[in-house]
């Protein structure tokens, strides 16, 4: 059913464009927005326009940033000899949360997916090769554990290995806190396949 107000209908339609939001959820959000004080709504709208106007891609690592180069690329505390390659900015956030990694990142902006028409020239592969220099010691490939991520890992490792670099990939395995007994078969069999010598 359509609303009798054209602007309300427009808002619902726009919200429903967002990923993971169907028309019902969009209607609920629109009702919520209707009830907010005007300033609040202006703040939300400003925040949305703000990211569009101010946020750009770092010219080195392609991560989202307001300053170029980004805070990570320009930090003297980071170890420039290690570059961790990820698919998108959310992956950087996830790894940063661990406080384990002190190197730099490279955000590809996707993974190889012929079916979606995404080839090596559509993700930041050239840029990765370009930033590798005599300081670069190790490239860590941290792509998603699906066939597209795996293809990207294989593709990159083939490009990078002849350059005489150490190329590593993150392990796939049993989640911490996960009980071996309750780990599903497929994960367990992959973990066994990827076992390491101690």
């Amino acid at each position: 059913m359509l609303y009798t107000s054209e602007s309300l209908e427009l808002l619902v339609e726009e919200l429903a464009q967002l990923p993971g939001i169907g028309r019902k959820t969009a209607q609920r959000l629109a009702m919520y927005i209707m009830k907010l004080p005007r300033e609040e709504v202006v703040n939300i709208a400003k925040a949305m326009v703000g990211v569009k106007d101010k946020v750009k891609n770092c010219s080195i690592c392609s991560n989202f940033t307001e300053d170029d180069p980004c805070l990570i690329c320009s930090s003297p505390k980071r170890d420039g000899s290690m570059i961790c390659v990820v698919e998108d900015p959310n992956d950087v956030i996830a790894i940063e949360k661990t406080n384990e990694f002190i190197g730099l990142y490279h955000v590809l902006g996707g993974s190889l997916s012929p079916l979606d028409g995404i080839g090596p020239e559509d993700i930041k592969v050239k840029e990765l090769l370009h930033r590798i220099n005599e300081n670069t010691g190790e490239i860590i490939l941290a792509l998603n554990p699906n066939v597209e991520g795996e293809a990207t890992t294989l593709y990159l490792s083939r490009l990078l290995k002849p350059l005489g670099l150490k190329v590593t990939r993150i392990a796939r395995g049993i989640p911490v806190g996960g009980d071996l007994e309750f780990t599903d078969e497929a994960t367990l069999s992959r973990a066994i396949e990827g076992r390491v010598q101690i």
């Binding site: 993971g20 019902k24 012929p114 079916l115 699906n146 293809a151 990207t152 083939r158 078969e185 497929a186």
Partner: protein
């Protein structure tokens, strides 16, 4: 395993149906188009976390509604009860599968917990039809008995689709895509050879299951057998690595041809599994009767195979199988399955069952009419 009760809400034409199931035969009667098969589809949905028929969950939602739900209580062979709840919302595309009120993250981990064996007249294409039908049969049995197989298979299918796209683009633009193909070749070979090894082993193991099922159905001057015929020679050595090595060689050998045709020509998606009686291929030489017997033997074999692998008696779903049989054969069939496990049988023929089964606690009979279930 058996189902104690099941409730469908807006599942196909069942707006709100509830069935208290018998733990042996459940006879579901009704005219064509009333919603009998839909009920079986719901049972198979519990087992496979998706539909047998529909590739898209949205077509399952009762037309005009937005959410379908299935609720069921399952009882394992050793008496442990499990509560299932499935919900799918058309507007968000969100699907929830929960077991004992705990939401399942990975649907593939459910496959094989509630094994089923499904029979329908269209199913008999397994023996009549092309190799794809036989691969489908193998895949369903193997997926239910081995989660890793199921996952390898879905990864493999994705890899083939990506790879075909590259080959097809290259055919069109007439360029050499070897650098783009390599990462996909590696995965094709990795997943493909694992699938092939499992299929080969399965065919070997399954021989005795068909053999002993066949023995129950006809005299044993007829010896049934099954042969695995992959798209390239794997060597019959026991070494699994040989499959991997030969796969690699074959990919190189077929490269030009793949480029010319623009699609993947090597791998388990091109496997054939041939069925034989006394060494003669069923498809070319068998009579109608032999086809039927072989088909039933396959399904009984499947039942016992899954029972062993899943350590749980599978639920049998027989769709419209009885409408085709004469009284005599129908009775024979009923006697055969009566002692196996819980069975759901749909039929448009109201009369044949009363002669063989007595109805009560164990055996139930219901009538489905316009998406509603009535106790008969």
């Amino acid at each position: 395993m058996f189902i104690e009760n099941i409730r469908l809400k807006n599942f196909r034409n069942h707006a709100d149906s509830y069935l208290e199931c018998g733990d042996k035969a459940n006879i579901i009667l009704g005219d064509n188009g009333e919603g009998k098969t839909n009920l079986l589809e719901a049972v198979s949905y519990i087992s496979l976390t998706k539909s047998f028929y529909a590739s898209n969950d949205s077509v399952i939602v009762n037309i005009g509604e937005t959410i379908f739900q299935i609720e069921a209580n399952m009882v394992s062979d050793n008496g442990i009860k499990t509560k299932i709840h499935i919900g799918y919302d058309l507007t968000t595309g969100e699907k929830v599968y929960s077991i004992n009120n705990r939401r399942i993250e990975k649907f593939s981990s459910v496959i094989g917990k509630f094994p089923i064996v499904f029979l329908s007249p269209e199913n008999s294409n397994i023996t009549f039809g092309g190799p794809a039908e036989r691969r489908k049969f193998l895949d369903l049995v193997l997926s239910q008995s081995n989660q890793t197989y199921f996952e390898d298979l879905s990864e493999y299918r994705k890899v083939v689709r990506h790879r075909n796209k590259i080959l097809n683009d290259a055919k069109f633009h007439k360029n050499d895509p070897i650098a783009l193909l390599e990462p996909w070749n590696e995965q094709l070979i990795r997943f493909g050879s694992r699938i092939m090894v499992r299929r080969r082993n399965f065919v070997n193991e399954f021989q005795e299951y068909i053999f002993s099922a066949y023995k129950k159905l006809v005299d044993l001057r007829e010896v049934p057998s099954m042969e695995y015929e992959p798209s390239f020679k794997t060597g019959n050595s026991e070494k699994d690595e040989m499959v991997f090595e030969n796969f690699k060689t074959e990919i190189d050998r077929k490269y030009k041809e793949e480029l010319r045709l623009g699609s993947t020509l090597v791998g388990p998606h091109r496997d054939e599994i041939s069925f034989k009686i006394n060494g003669l291929e069923l498809r070319k030489f068998a009579s109608q009767g032999q086809h039927k017997t072989f088909f039933v033997a396959l399904k009984i074999g499947e039942f016992f195979y899954l029972k062993e692998r899943c350590r749980e008696n599978p639920i049998l779903l027989l769709d419209d199988v009885f409408s085709e049989l004469d009284d005599n054969r129908a009775q024979q069939m009923l006697l055969l399955i009566e002692n196996l496990n819980q069975t759901f049988i749909t039929s448009t023929n109201f009369d044949i069952f009363d002669k063989v089964l007595s109805f009560g606690e164990k055996n139930k009979k219901v009538i489905v009419r316009n998406g509603k279930i009535a106790i008969s």
